[in-house]
Symmetry: C2
Subunit: 349 residues, 2 copies
């Protein structure tokens, strides 16, 4: 007898009719007048054999269902792991059918097609890449999203408004924070305590750097970029490399603060800078981005920007049941908050 017996094989083994076996498997046994004793015999056998009806069989039986899909592109990291955990746990509590796909950015379209093929009608799309790195095949992506009952793009990074109208037209919900606004928040805080020249990790020419530059210059700060090359490094090594470039910025440009886009990298850079004799925060203010839970236990408790993950994810589940009609608002912009700890102070002039 094979590993996955057919109903006929089970019936033969138990000396019962195929109809009796299929009635138990399909949950119609009592309705069909099969005795409790026979039902128990069949059920015990199914459990002993580890029998599972195939998905095709169950789908044919259940007909069309509303299925939730979760599409995650890239790697789980920082606040997105928290969001993913929260999505999964709400979903588990809902006892609803769910299909999960995790694909590389380059396979975004394939991921959408696969989920559609599995019968997904409502989609939570958790996107790790910034929108400026997103779309080569945007038209095709939108075509394959159009037939779904609802689509929520989680972690949309507002700030450039290049794509917002496009998604509004396509009736795709965008849930995320406004990066420009977030960096302005942090910038205003730094300015208020007296900083002018602020070191920024990255380059003014990448998409994120441009936003930080716009945010900081718009409120009268002078951003100075580290231009650190950190491809494929660990976060520890990235932090160390950035620390060296910040030392240069302190010496050559007179920066009094360094603004990071990741809490862990901020932590590693902080350790390295302190090893090189820089006092934090007296000689250098350091700020993070993410609001990770370990940030308060770093070398110096990190002043950082928190992202309201719980509120955002809870909102996603409310949006899932909205109809895709034109007049809705599809942009859901959440506010960041500066968490003030001990890694900032007035500049030491």
């Amino acid at each position: 007898m094979n590993k996955n017996p057919t109903m006929q094989e089970i019936a033969n083994e138990l000396k019962l009719s195929r109809l009796t076996v299929s009635s138990v498997i399909n949950g119609n046994a009592s309705k069909r007048g099969i005795s409790a004793k026979t039902i128990t015999v069949v059920e015990d056998y199914l459990n002993k054999r580890g029998y599972v009806p195939s998905m095709q069989a169950r789908n044919l039986r259940l007909g069309e269902r509303s299925t939730l899909g979760i599409l995650y592109t890239g790697h789980l990291y920082s606040h997105l792991t928290e969001a993913f955990n929260r999505v999964i746990s709400i979903q588990n509590a809902n006892k609803e059918s769910v299909e999960i796909m995790i694909v590389q950015q380059i396979d975004l379209l394939k991921g959408i097609q696969e989920l559609r093929g599995r019968g997904v009608t409502r989609l939570i799309w958790i996107q790790t890449e910034r929108p400026e790195n997103l779309f080569k095949d945007i038209d095709k992506v939108l075509n394959f999203l159009a037939p779904l009952d609802s689509v929520i793009f989680y972690n949309y990074q507002f700030g450039d408004n290049q794509w917002v109208e496009l998604f509004q037209n396509e009736k795709i919900h965008l849930v995320g924070i406004d990066r420009l606004d977030g960096f302005k928040n942090m910038g205003r805080f730094l300015k208020k305590i007296g900083h002018e020249k602020v070191g920024i990790t990255g380059s003014a020419n990448d998409g994120l750097g441009e936003i930080v530059k716009n945010a900081y210059t718009s409120i009268g700060l002078e951003p100075k970029f580290t231009n650190t090359k950190t491809k494929a490094d660990t976060l520890d090594l990235t932090g160390k490399k950035i620390a060296k470039d910040i030392l240069t910025l302190i010496k050559n440009e007179g920066v009094t603060a360094a603004s990071f886009v990741d809490d862990e990298v901020a932590g590693h850079a902080m350790v390295e800078l302190m090893k090189c004799g820089i006092k934090v925060p007296e000689e250098l203010t350091i700020t993070g981005y993410d609001g990770m839970s370990y940030a308060s236990a770093l070398r110096v408790p990190l002043t950082t920007l928190s992202i309201p993950v719980e509120d955002m994810v809870d909102h996603v589940f409310k949006l899932l049941n909205q109809k895709r009609i034109k007049k809705n608002n599809y942009s859901h912009v959440f506010k960041t908050k500066v968490i003030k700890r001990e890694s900032h102070s007035k500049p030491n002039k």
Copy 2:
């Protein structure tokens, strides 16, 4: 026309035969002598409409495939997030079909049944719970795992050997570390630098506490448990509560070291203890468990026990293709390593 058109509807729309349309969809068009021009017309239309054949249709066409399943129970945390990311990225690179389910511990059996129903033949089961909390329905779980071509249980925590033989008999691979051995590692290190009385988070009566107790007493240390009640707290609050209990152990029991089972909690407790005036490491040695990448950037760089996640995950993919035969070795025990940083010193007597 509905959102998910049938092949017949597409054919009507394009004024082509249903056979022509289905041939393009099924990839038989050139074989059937359909012109390149017509193929392009159909393909463009399918892309514009975002047409996806249903999974049932594709499965019927493709027949039986070998499908990898990933079953994750509970929440993604610490080194398991790293493992999950690595599994997904190897899987993505393999371009193989994969089914992912993430369920609560209580729905373990349902998760296995669902994956089986989806045609999964090889399973990576990433388990977040300790084995002593695992199994009410162990017999049933094993029955439903039996028909699979291979099953790898990732994060099996060796140390008690209650279940090892059972899994060996069931030909289920166990990949994990030996907790008893890990704590002995850490204990020997603490003893070597002169500690005798060591505070342990948790209780001697929970499964993990018992293992720590056995490990530490077997090498001549005296473990003293905090017995902290921390249900459903944040890691930050957990750390603070434990810190208070460790203060008591320092005062009443004379502990000179505190051994944690989680790096982040160790970090938060460390911050709180230092706030209460305890010098780390001079007055108290603190050790962690996990080897998280941020542990080197904590208040005092944390001496901890590292888990070889990369090696373990790479081994999982080798095991996936092994036949389930009795004579194989199904226990794959990986070694932990003490990472020596700055949170330990000789006791201050």
